[in-house]
Structures are given as C-alpha cells and as structure tokens.
C-alpha cells in the first residue's frame, strides 16, 4: 500500500538503459574477466599477424633450401658474451655447422655459437604485395648478409622456414575460422531468428532440422562432403568449399542461441508494446530485439570459431580438406604428425602450439563476452 507509492519513484530510478551505457557496462564487466581481457589481446595479435603475414614472415613460405632440411631452430639472440668477455649487443642468429650422414641419410646440424649473423629490422626485400594489395619491399626483420640461413623456429623437411610458413598458415586458418563463423552466423540468425520470432510450426520444423543435423556425427558428414567436392578445384575453391562445409554444421548452434533469445524476448513487455504501437516486424526485430542480444550472438560466435579451426586441422589430418601446397596450420600439422617428427624434429609441432593458444584465447574471450553480455552467465 502506502510505501509502495513511495517505492515507485525508486524503482524508476535507473533510467531506461541507453545503448552506450550498455556497451560501457558490458565492457566493464568484461574487464573483470582478466583472462578474457588478455585473450582478447592475444587473439587480436594473431589476426594482426594474419593480416601482415607477408611483412612479418622473413622468408617466402615456399622457399626451400637443400642445405637446411630439418635444420633446428636458431632462436633470435639480442646480446651475447664474446670470447674476450666483452658483450655483444644487437640482434643476431647463430650459424649452423652441418654435415651429411650418408648412411643415416640426413644432415646433422650443430648451432655454431662462434658464428653470428646480424639480424636487422625493416630490411629490404624483393618487392611483394601486402595482403595481395599494397606493394611493399621491406620486411619486419631479416639477415643483412646475403645467403645466410635464418630459421628462428627451425626448418621443415625441405628446408623451408617454419616461422614464415606458420605466419602464412595463420592467415588461412584464422580466416577460415572467421569466414566459417560469419557464414554460420548468417544462416543461424536468419533461420533461428525467424523460427524464434514466428514460433509455431515453422519453429518446430527448424528445430527438428537442427536437432537432426546435430545428431549426425560430423566426421562422416565432412568426409562425405569433402570427398564429394570436385577434386580438380583450385586451392581457393577448395578453401571456400571447406568453409561452407564447416559452417553447414556450425550454424545450428547459433540458430539455437538466436532462437532462444528471440523466444524469451518476444514475450518481453517492450516488444509487446512496440507491437501494440503497430511497429513493423522488421522494425521490431532490428530496433528492439536485435540490440538486446547482439552481445549474446557475439559471444556465441566467438565460441564457435575454435571449433572451426580444430575442424580444419582434423580434416587436413584425414587427408581431406586443405592440402599442400596450401599452407595452413592443418596442413603444417599434417607434416608433423609422424613419429619421425616427434623424435627428431619436434619444433615442427609449433603449429599445434599455435592452435592450442588461439583456441584457448578464443574460448576465454568468448566466455568473458558471454559473462559480460548477461551477468547471470548463461
């Protein structure tokens, strides 16, 4: 009774949330999730690498060298003590002592501490096009003396620079994840959205389909589809085909999320109000509903990316999906997945490390987003 009347103004106190404040609020909640914050930066860094691949990679990913097959990592040194005890400063890499073992059929490498090849930043290189567009002729770093080996992370079986391949692989693998998610996001929002908004038979039909797709073990699905796609397609075509295949499964999860939010929002007062005001469906959806769960969608999408990346590697492992000479983390791991590598060239597992890190980060990032999106952490 009485005090209720007093309550009303209190209840009104927090004025209707404005988008900015919402975003700000989300950002604040997100920051609380320190791991997520860190992850965000790491992911960002990886994408930067993907973007600047040509600039960052010291060598051409295809450039092979007979003399340095399976050369171990040189590492990158910045200072060292000279024989006379004085200090040497400035980045450099050590040279190799190599000899061929004719019986074992391999080169044995010894890092030669005495030989130092200086490494410089922003070195001249033969002209290339950054991201295939901007013409450039300078690399982030490289050796200054000609014809000296630079294998910071070591070399593969053809003496190709692992670091450079890794950097270029990043572009493919990360973009495939992104592209796949974008695609599934599109399907997910459209299909899930309508299902959720209209409900009824359409909804249940869609949900059956989703259920159905999710009940299929994905691997055979991929295998079949991947095997089915014309093998005389170009690398690019395959690339897109793969993304489509991946998103064919990916959209269901997102559709479920979107639908769920729609269902719950549909009954919210402000939506009903808007309907009573005679606002068009489109307006209601775009103006009233979407803003209310973009955050969730973003979170869900973020959490979908790792799946895509893993899927890409899995497909490559099975010999489907991307194939050499395309350089992706999947194909790189394909080279690494044998006992020989584990035993004698473990550095070739570096792509695996990247996969792990990126996936970890994406997960934490996504979790953080979701926790921030709604404090109840659903």
């Amino acid at each position: 009774m009485a005090v209720d009347s007093l309550d009303t103004p209190v209840k009104l106190a927090p004025a209707r949330p404005v988008r900015e404040s919402q975003v700000a609020l989300m950002w604040r909640r997100f920051k609380r999730h320190r791991l997520a914050l860190v992850s965000l930066w790491i992911v960002a860094a990886f994408y930067l690498v993907a973007l600047l691949a040509e600039f960052l990679a010291p060598a051409d990913p295809g450039a092979y060298s007979a003399r340095y097959t399976y050369a171990p990592p040189q590492g990158l040194h910045f200072f060292a003590r000279n024989e006379d005890g004085s200090w040497h400063f400035g980045p450099f890499v050590n040279g190799y002592k190599t000899e061929i073992d004719p019986v074992a059929l391999r080169r044995t490498f010894v890092i030669d501490e005495t030989v130092r090849h200086p490494v410089a930043f922003f070195v001249e290189s033969e002209p290339y096009r950054l991201a295939g567009i901007i013409p450039m002729s300078v690399k982030l770093f490289g050796v200054t003396e000609p014809r000296t080996p630079l294998y910071v992370l070591g070399a593969d079986r053809l003496g190709r620079d692992l670091l450079s391949r890794l950097i270029h692989g990043t572009r493919i693998s990360l973009s495939i994840g992104l592209a796949g998610v974008t695609l599934s996001l599109f399907f997910g929002i459209v299909i899930g959205g309508f299902a959720g908004y209209y409900g009824g038979w359409f909804d249940s039909a869609v949900m059956r389909v989703v259920e159905f797709i999710r009940s299929m073990p994905t691997i055979p699905l991929w295998l079949g589809l991947a095997a089915a796609m014309p093998r005389d397609w170009s690398a690019l075509q395959t690339y897109f085909a793969i993304t489509i295949i991946l998103s064919l499964i990916g959209w269901t999860e997102l559709a479920r999320v979107v639908r769920g939010r729609f269902l719950s929002l549909r009954t919210e007062d402000f939506v009903t109000a808007a309907q009573l005001d005679g606002a068009s469906t489109w307006r209601i959806v775009t103006r009233h509903m979407v803003p209310n769960f973009t955050s969730h969608i973003i979170a869900a999408a973020t959490l979908a990316v790792p799946g895509m990346i893993l899927a890409e590697t899995a497909l490559s492992f099975l010999g489907l999906g991307l194939q050499a000479p395309i350089v992706s983390w999947g194909t790189l791991l394909q080279d690494a997945q044998n006992i020989r590598t584990l035993a004698t060239a473990p550095w070739l597992l570096a792509p695996g490390l990247c996969v792990i890190v990126v996936i970890l980060c994406f997960n934490f990032f996504g979790d953080g987003l979701r926790d921030a999106a709604d404090p109840h952490g659903r």
């Binding site: 320190r34 009940s215 073990p217 691997i219 089915a228 899995a314 695996g352 996936i359 934490f364």
Partner: protein, 329 residues
C-alpha cells in the same frame, strides 16, 4: 510423462529415416563407385583387372541402378535387419560392424564417464570461486584439453609411452588377449590400452561440460533457495552440493545427447591414429574405398546411437527433474 516420451520417440523415428537417407546420400556423393576405386587401388599396386570382371561385379552388386532404387533396396533391407554386403570384405555388413560398434560404444561410454568425473569438481570449484586463481587454472586446464587436436594428443601419448615405458600401445588388447573371452586379466589388459583414447576423448569434451556447469551453477547460486538452505544452518559445502549443484546438473544431463556426435567424430580420429578396433577406422576405409553399404550402415548406426542417446538423456532429465515429470514449468 509417457506421452512426452512417445512424442520424442516419434520425432526420433522421423529423424532416423532422414538420417538413413542422408547417410546413403553422403556415401553416394563421391565420384565413381566401389569398383572404380577398387581398380584404382589395384592399379596403384601395379596390378590390373580385366574390365569384363568389373562389369560382372557391377552386375552382381547392382551398382548400375539409379540412386533411389538402390536406396530403397538398402532401406527396406535394413528394416528386415539386413544391412547388405560389404563389397570389399564380401561379408554381411552386420557381421563386420557389430563388434566394432560395441567397442566404439564402450570407449565413448568410458569417455563420457571420465568427462563427468573431471568436469564436475572443476566446474563446481570454478563457479563457487568465480574469478579466483583456482577458477582460472581449472578452466585453463579444461580448455587445454579441448584445444589440443585429438590426433596430435594421441600420437604424442603413444610416442611417449614408447620412449618412457618401451611399450607400443596400439589397439585395445595385447596379443594374448585379442581373441580371449572376457576375464579379469583381459579387462585389466583392456584398461591398460584404453586409457589413452579415453583420456584423449574425455579431455576434448570436458571443457564444454565445465563451461556449462559453471554457468548454470553461477546462475543457481544466486537463487533464494540457497539462502534458505544456509539459513537452515547447513554447512556451506552441503548447501552447495545438495541444492544448486543438484539443480545445475539437470541441464547438464541433457548435454549427453549432443556430446555424443562430437565424441563419435573424435573417436574416429583417435582410433585411426591408435589402430583401435572401433567403427572409426572401418568407416574411414569404407568411405575411401566407397564400400557403400558398409559405410552407410556405420554412419546410420552411429547416428542412431546418438539420436537414442539424446532421447535417453531427455528421458533421464524428465526423470530427475520433477518439474518436467509433473508437466509443470
């Protein structure tokens, strides 16, 4: 309740029909048929077959017929419990796969259990001590499992067990036990081999469980009934385990359903790396050799299992959650 189960059951039958169709479609997708890839592999060996032989076989296998006809024969056959013949093995498909499907189930079942055993404590801890160092470590641990590509993990474990214990852990049994009957020593031998694949599979799925459990629990912990429980004077751990955790588990039960497909896929890869006698390697091989009835049957059965798994988990959920059982919401 009964009516609820019935509804789900009908839905399931529908799904299964669809699955069978898609399964068959998938194996028909790749160019050529079993015989073309058969010839190809022979030729790769340096051997050649007389085309007439191939023609003969094509007749006998009825490969010439249009898609729908083949599908219908296959499907009706299955309804009568006849999964058809495997081209490569010249044997009834059922005879070939039941054993492997069994092992797949066994491994995946063990993986599910392992997952829960790992995920429960971590998830609860992560939720109760939200944003604590422990929370971070626990979740990181969980996610690393998710992040390591299965095949890589399996391979590394195999190699390490060779380097450290001088043992080559492949397959599911030591030579002596392969064809033996189940006995305690055989079970022990089995466990010694099975732990790697189970571990690999489990770690891959745990993170997801942890995440869900943590989220649900965070949700539940805020509910008034928790305060009520505290106001009763229950010790904190009991409060949490008896009420919010119990609640948080409900939605988790239903996750079993969609855990399965991922598990199945994962086990395919792991099995290939570790040469497990599960359905995985056979599926892979049959898909590459286009041994269509075999591949079709495996895909179908795996899907059926997942669908049934979903059904079971739904029923389980209904059973443990009175609100659903009494049709209230």
């Amino acid at each position: 309740m009964v009516q609820f189960i019935l509804r789900r059951f009908l839905a399931m039958l529908l799904t299964l029909f669809a699955v069978s169709f898609v399964a068959f479609a998938i194996i028909q997708l790749p160019p050529g048929d079993f015989l073309t890839s058969y010839m190809a592999s022979l030729a790769a060996q340096g051997d050649q077959v007389d085309p007439r032989v191939i023609e003969n076989l094509r007749q006998q296998y009825g490969l010439g017929e249009p898609y729908l006809v083949q599908y219908w024969k296959w499907f009706t056959g299955i309804l009568q419990g006849n999964f058809g013949q495997s081209f490569e093995w010249k044997r009834p498909v059922w005879e070939l796969i039941w054993g492997r499907i069994g092992y797949s189930l066994l491994i995946e079942g063990m993986a599910v259990i392992a997952m829960w055993l790992i995920a429960l404590p971590i998830g609860v801890y992560a939720a109760v001590r939200k944003y604590s160092l422990g929370d971070y470590l626990a979740t990181i641990g969980g996610f690393i499992g998710l992040a390591i590509p299965n095949f890589l993990f399996a391979l590394i474990l195999m190699y390490l067990s060779f380097v450290w214990f001088g043992r080559t852990i492949g397959g599911l049994f030591s030579p002596g036990f392969e064809n033996a009957h189940w006995s305690l020593p055989r079970i022990w031998d089995f466990l010694q081999h099975a732990w790697i694949p189970v571990l690999v599979l489990a770690t891959a799925g745990t993170a997801e469980l942890i995440r869900i459990l943590r989220a649900n629990l965070l949700d539940e912990l805020k509910k008034p009934y928790v305060t009520t429980a505290r106001s009763k004077g229950l010790p904190e751990w009991k409060v949490i385990l008896k009420y919010p955790v119990r609640m948080a588990l409900n939605p988790l039960v239903s996750t079993i359903g969609w855990l399965l497909p991922a598990l199945v896929s994962g086990s395919v890869i792991v099995s290939v790396v570790m040469n497990l006698p599960t359905a995985g390697p056979m599926l892979l091989r049959s898909l590459t050799t286009q041994d269509m009835y075999l591949a079709g049957a495996i895909i179908l059965l795996l899907s059926v299992l997942t669908v049934i798994g979903t059904l079971i988990s739904d029923i389980l959920l209904a059973w443990i959650d009175p609100r659903i059982r009494y049709g209230s919401r």
